[in-house]
């Protein structure tokens, strides 16, 4: 065992500062920064580390998020370990370059403090921004609290470089990014050793063995590039689990594609992620005390989607509620659609209700989640999407 469980390493930080702390220990070579609420605490905290001489990272201040991700693409292609961070409109503005980063297989790590998209203007937490980027070829990992932000930042950096793909580590805007919570941190040298040195096989500044990044690929080859990219994405799933398990051994904190909480013998199951998953676990405990067989599945790795494993964990439940903090206008939200396709493949016909909660920072309470479980137990399941805590 390492010093991970040593009490002196137990501190309290905001989720944003927890991300910056993990980055301080990783000490990337380049960080491209542009401020946006509620992401700014991440880059602000890190910039202070750099100004105080604690890290030697080259911080590139740019004039927009489009430039932040473009600078990251340049730095990463040149061979540097590269990170950036954003939220909401910033992530939307990056969209064009997100595809370039993943198409070029650049292992950029991006912290996202997830927030609603305009219009109407709203600066508060939800998952709409990261869901908008879910098909962009980035690995996506959700975090429940400051501890998971810290852990996932370290896992994410290593995963990006091992898988040769960009990674988004996601925290809930405000409710994680701006909340002070306890966490245990590892020693800097332990983190540095875990992440390892970054030695890319090919990079633009390898002048004795020059390569081209981003050439034209037309009808005769583009398709194969995309199929290869899908294969890399698929393969990264195993890589994630390997790194997550290595991190588990190092930290003593359980890591997996998803967290099964009292799901084994559960009749009623809730699928959820982010901060609300913590609240939901308290609800499960309370209802279990009353003898109700309830459980939950919290999604950690969302892209690539661990479909078979999730369906495997759900196979014995009677009813499912999928609670999402994002709206896919015109259809069901992403978790629901992905899980439904998995259940269909396994020929599992489990009734499943779609709930949407927390858009634009709307509060979600334990009693709301309790009501979801109660409705499931009464088989109140329909094709209609239910909106929690609204007048709709």
């Amino acid at each position: 065992m390492t010093t991970a469980n040593n009490k002196k390493n137990r501190i309290a930080l905001t989720g944003g500062a927890a991300a910056a702390e993990a980055l301080r220990q990783i000490e990337p070579e380049v960080m491209a920064v542009y401020p946006i609420t509620p992401q700014t605490p991440i880059i602000e905290t890190y910039a202070k580390f750099q100004a105080d001489g604690e890290v030697e990272t080259e911080i590139i201040q740019v004039e927009s998020e489009h430039s932040a991700i473009s600078a990251s693409v340049g730095a990463s292609a040149a061979g540097a370990r590269t990170v950036t961070a954003t939220s909401s409109q910033g992530l939307a503005l990056m969209n064009e370059i997100l595809y370039i980063a993943s198409g070029l297989r650049l292992p950029i790590l991006m912290l996202v403090s997830a927030r609603a998209l305009s219009a109407p203007i709203n600066i508060h937490g939800e998952h709409g921004d990261v869901m908008d980027a879910r098909d962009a070829g980035w690995i996506q990992i959700f975090s429940e609290n400051a501890q998971e932000v810290y852990d996932n930042t370290i896992i994410g950096m290593k995963l990006a470089e091992k898988a040769g793909l960009p990674v988004m580590v996601i925290m809930d805007g405000f409710s994680t990014s701006h909340s002070v919570e306890n966490l245990e941190i590892l020693e800097k040298d332990v983190v540095k050793k875990f992440v390892g040195e970054y030695r890319p096989e090919q990079y633009l500044l390898k002048i004795d063995d020059p390569v081209t990044f981003g050439p034209l690929a037309l009808q005769n080859s583009y398709f194969e590039f995309r199929v290869d990219q899908e294969k890399a994405m698929k393969d990264s799933k195993e890589e994630y689990l390997k790194i997550a398990k290595d991190f588990e051994a190092l930290s003593g904190r359980e890591k997996n594609y998803f967290e099964s909480y009292k799901l084994d013998d559960a009749d009623q199951a809730v699928i959820i992620t982010g901060t609300a998953a913590g609240t939901a676990k308290d609800v499960v405990d309370k209802m279990r005390k009353n003898g109700e067989k309830v459980g939950l599945l919290k999604i950690n790795l969302f892209r690539p989607f661990p479909r078979e494993e999730i369906v495997g964990a759900l196979k014995n439940v009677k009813n499912i509620a999928v609670m999402e903090r994002a709206i896919s206008l015109g259809t069901y939200s992403p978790f629901y659609a992905d899980i439904a396709s998995g259940l269909h493949q396994e020929e599992k016909n489990i009734p499943m209700q779609q709930y949407i909660y927390g858009l634009g920072g709307r509060d979600i309470f334990a009693k709301d989640i309790e009501k979801v479980f109660e409705d499931l137990a009464e088989n109140k399941i329909s094709k209609e999407i239910k909106y929690i805590g609204t007048n709709k």
Binding site: K7, R10, I11, A12, H124, G125, N145, F174, S175, H178, S179, V180, E181, N182, T275, A276, G278, T279, K281, D282, K286, G361, D363, I364, F365, A366, K367
Partner: protein, 189 residues
């Protein structure tokens, strides 16, 4: 009824820029230094300088997983008594729960004005702060009263955290005056 009986929950009412967040953070970090689990977070409303704000703190011996805003507090701290004119600061405060308010008014006057039947602890934090620090800094002064009333964290831990956060920012002399003011508030009846 409280959902989490084993978690001690606090709401700080202040005005934007008045330091409610700093006070909440000192309490939280003091609790962490005593080996406890905490959460401290602002109510994520539109924050403008001078507008009423809420900051929440949770303290527990066990890991805190719940992420709701605090709606049923064990104690409420009001840094500016004029807030009570526009915000119902005693919502869900029961008879055995405490209201700590920066005010020159008497216990009886506070109870009558706010139609509150619980434990009221007015403290002239502005007065103490003007007298010792020479500036109105009610947010840290009131922490002395908070410790006296709740015993949720120790006085020494609070003073240590104050020093940790502010020594570099305001210097030795001002830090010492603030610590004196915290002690004075702790000693008030």
């Amino acid at each position: 009824m409280k959902y989490h009986k084993e978690i001690f929950e606090i709401i700080f009412h202040g005005r934007g820029g008045q330091g409610a967040k700093a006070a909440a953070e000192i309490v939280a970090q003091a609790a962490v230094s005593e080996g406890k689990f905490v959460q401290a977070f602002p109510n994520f409303g539109p924050e403008r300088s001078g507008a009423p704000t809420k900051t929440f703190v949770r303290i527990s011996d066990k890991e805190i997983r719940n992420h709701e805003p605090v709606v049923d507090p064990d104690v409420v701290v009001v840094l500016d008594e004029t807030i009570a004119d526009s915000v119902d600061v005693t919502t869900n405060l029961d008879k055995n729960e405490a209201l700590i308010i920066n005010s020159k008014k008497s216990v009886q006057e506070i109870k009558e004005k706010l139609n509150f039947e619980g434990r009221a602890y007015p403290i002239d934090a502005n007065g103490i702060s003007m007298e010792i620090i020479g500036q109105p800094r009610p947010n840290t002064v009131i922490l002395g009263k908070f410790v006296q009333v709740t015993e949720a964290v120790g006085l020494e831990s609070v003073k240590k955290e104050f020093e940790k956060i502010f020594l570099g920012k305001i210097g030795k002399e001002a830090t010492e005056k603030n610590l004196q003011a915290i002690e004075k508030a702790y000693d008030t009846i």
